[in-house]
């Protein structure tokens, strides 16, 4: 998209403002084709060539002019602009042009990292309803209540459920193989520690409905009764 600029007199002031904008938005102007509206320049009886030279000096690529009769530039080194204007459909009827605010370059991200909380543990004291997703990657999650079928709990550390686990529990995103899952009533749909997972088919039926803990033992996921 070409940028249409309309230089105004006094030219120095306009160029100074352009320099300031270019400083703030270097990325925007890099390789940006320019179309120069010279109507105001002509009216002020300034030489259009001065304007074009000033823009060229700033490494801006001018691809067309408007607002003046292109033949005015015929004998100058800007004659090619005339040809460009005619060849490309450079005329604009005002309908597809937009007035834009030139964006500033994006700020570089700040260096200081956010300070981590001292104890990373999430406590939820109400049931986790179906369809809800509790994700806490910074540590353990403790739930005083049940986790419904169709809900999921994802923790960086261990998961402690003082209630029934009927949904999914995924532990150990951060702490890895040492994470465990505890619940008072095992009716889970899926359990996982450190990427290893299993579904109810994989554990003993006798454990269903009873207090259980799930842990990793030498690379194998174990579902054990919690007495």
């Amino acid at each position: 998209m070409a940028l249409i600029v309309s230089p105004e007199t006094p030219l120095e002031t306009w160029l100074a403002a352009l320099d300031e904008q270019m400083r703030r938005s270097a990325e925007f102007f890099a390789n940006r084709p320019l179309v120069v509206n010279l109507a105001a320049t002509l009216e002020a009886e300034e030489n259009p060539q001065t304007v074009l030279e000033a823009l060229e000096a700033r490494n801006l690529s001018v691809v067309g002019v408007e607002g003046i009769d292109p033949s005015l530039l015929a004998d100058t080194r800007w004659a090619h602009l005339q040809r460009l204007s005619l060849g490309r459909k450079m005329t604009h009827d005002g309908r597809t042009d937009r007035l834009i605010i030139i964006p500033d370059d994006p700020q570089t991200p700040s260096e200081a990292p956010e300070s981590r909380p001292a104890t990373a543990s999430l406590l939820i004291d109400r049931p986790v309803r179906s369809g809800q997703s509790i994700i806490f990657e910074d540590g353990d999650i403790t739930i005083v209540g049940s986790v419904a079928s169709g809900a999921e709990v994802v923790a960086g550390g261990s998961i402690h459920i003082y209630g029934a686990l009927r949904g999914r529990a995924i532990a150990g995103l951060k702490t890895g193989a040492v994470a465990r899952i505890f619940c008072q009533k095992l009716q889970a749909e899926l359990v996982s520690v450190d990427g290893f997972y299993c579904v109810p088919e994989d554990w003993d039926d006798k454990l269903q409905g009873h207090p259980a803990q799930i842990c990793l033992d030498q690379g194998a996921l174990k579902v054990l009764a919690l007495d």
């Binding site: 049931p127 309803r129 179906s130 369809g131 049940s146 419904a148 169709g150 009927r166």
Partner: protein, 273 residues
Amino acid sequence: MSKVVVVTSGKGGVGKTTSSASLGAALAQAGQNVVVVDFDVGLRNLDLVMGAERRVVFDLVNVVQGDAKLAQALIRDKRIDTLSLLPASQTRDKDALTEEGVGRIIEELREKFDWIICDSPAGIEKGAMLAMRFADLAVVITNPEVSSVRDSDRIIGMLDAKTLRSENGEKFEKHLLLTRYNTARAARGEMLKVDDVLEILAIPLLGIVPESADILNASNLGCPITLHDPASPAARAYTEAARRLLGEKIDIVEPTEARGFFNRLLGRKAAVA
């Protein structure tokens, strides 16, 4: 102080419209000014169940879009004059409703009625969301079977998140109305027991409505069961539920299979609440 009640469930076909009409009628019979609002745009049923299907001129969508005034759309019940109906449109769909428009209507209804019962459509999409958005409390309709319970759990989660009251940090009252309870099937283990449902959903129980052929008869006749046959077990359950909503403390008795002397003689079973 008017109360906006949303009757919702998540699952379809569990008894929201029936319960909206029956609870509404029961509250009106108890002397309250009640309006039942059908939020199921495009699949309206509340007007059928209330027996007003031949008197619908303007509907909720007309009022939201400003084509009609609220007073023009409200249909007064012929049997109790403190009961009114605001029907839904059948030709439009839920996209015709806007939150701002619905909010306006609810505010206007609050000025005229003690109880505004919003009959929610099934699902968790815009229609259901709008029905619950402005509510003060919810009656969650659940059948004692697994898919209904899971869907109800989902809708309870949404009630705690998506209503204006919850967003403002206020506690949102939810009540469970167990419908289509079949005692025999529960005893045989084919349906969930009341305790099982309560353990999963963890919200207070408003009432247990037994499965009843009277409900279908009443809806065919276009008359809420509490008006059509107040002595039937289902109607009694709804009447008690309405009284509990009004603050009365009535013990909930699980419907049992009681065989009266004559029934035993004649070998017939009856489910009595």
